[in-house]
Amino acid sequence: MRDLALAVRSGGGFGLGLVFFLIVTVLVPFGVGPETARLAPIAPGILWVGALLACLLSLDRIFALDREDGALDLLATAPIPLEGLTLAKAAAHWLTTGLPISIAAAPLGVFLSLPWPGHLWLSLSLLVGTPALSLIGCFGAALTVGLRRGGLLLSVLVLPLYIPTLVFGADVARRGAEGLDAATPLALLGAVTLGCLAGLPFAAAAALRVSLR
């Protein structure tokens, strides 16, 4: 809760991801040209990559600020287990980046001339997939929390971990936009998210324990 309030009030984390997502979406047509025939096929992929980068952008804030003012040490000694803490952190990150992006993606799809039923599939795939991005990012942030310049390293570590989510997520959106059956990749995407939810808080908590030692 405290994270949510901080993120919304300070404006940085909350707006940043969303604005970055908007910028990517608006810039792409300038880069590749405004024709519908060219934009429509790449729209789901562009929106997914934009969402992923927007997530990546706000990752290093998950633990870094708490580490600086010592709140992380207090939280570590609090009666709740570290696994719960990392889960709460990931949830806060998702609510401030993943959720707004999922909602914003459908209207932004219009800019990229995404065919109609694709909007729903895109939002749905982002809604299912972005929790995995937040959880993986939380793990990466826990690994690099003790480092002074962890930002670039964090991106390098997290990038390959994001690939399965991106492949399945973009595939759901693409198939949805083309009017094909998207149930299989959607189920696999859900499986990735649930697997991350089950396993990664433990890995992140283990990494945090080492970093705080």
Binding site: L143, T144, L147, P160, P164, P185, A206, V210, S211
Partner: protein, 244 residues
Amino acid sequence: MSIWSFANPTRFMAVTARLTPALGALAAVLLVIGLGWGFFFTPDDYRQGATVKIIYLHVPAALFAINAWFMMLVASLIWLIRRHHVSALAARAAAPVGITMTLIALVTGAVWGQPMWGTWWAWDPRLTSFLILCLFYVGYIALWEAIEDPDTAADLTSVLCLVGSVFAVLSRYAVNFWNQGLHQGASLSLDTEENVADVFYYPLLVCIGGFAALFVALVLLRTRTEIRVRRLHALRLRERMADA
């Protein structure tokens, strides 16, 4: 005597001092025989011509690119469970060797793919998963380099290696989902009838043996170096303590 007695660095150093040169020599002999045999004494393939000979570098390198990560996974598990320093150092030592093997496999694959497929690179599942493996190696090595305290670094990289292994396998199947493979299936395996012809098969086996010996020798050599670096560091600290 159990295998754990080698976890003692002194004992490890004593045994590997003799083992490393022997393995290096074995690797050199096997590679000279295998590559020489493969390059000069096998016929050209009737469709692929002389380019088929890249197989003698490509297949063993690809094999040990994956096995190196697997070895790091086992070493990381041993470090996390039994806290043997040699194990953590061996995992660290294997990473650069593994990434080199990955790059050899990628580059030789590109060189072979240009005349055969007409392209240097295709987003084929196998190629893509090797690229992802390469990224994992980069992240792993970068994390080792970034953390100063060796035990913290060993812990964090071990956790990364475990999580990374799961995601590497996951990526392998995720990219399979595209289902547009250019890369042919396995050309040698123990349980199927369909293998490359015997003329290519035996030199390939010798090459794989040579790469195996080379890999172990390089990892042992690098592990010995890491242990020496660690000892040197400890000696310097002791000296500084004595001065102060």
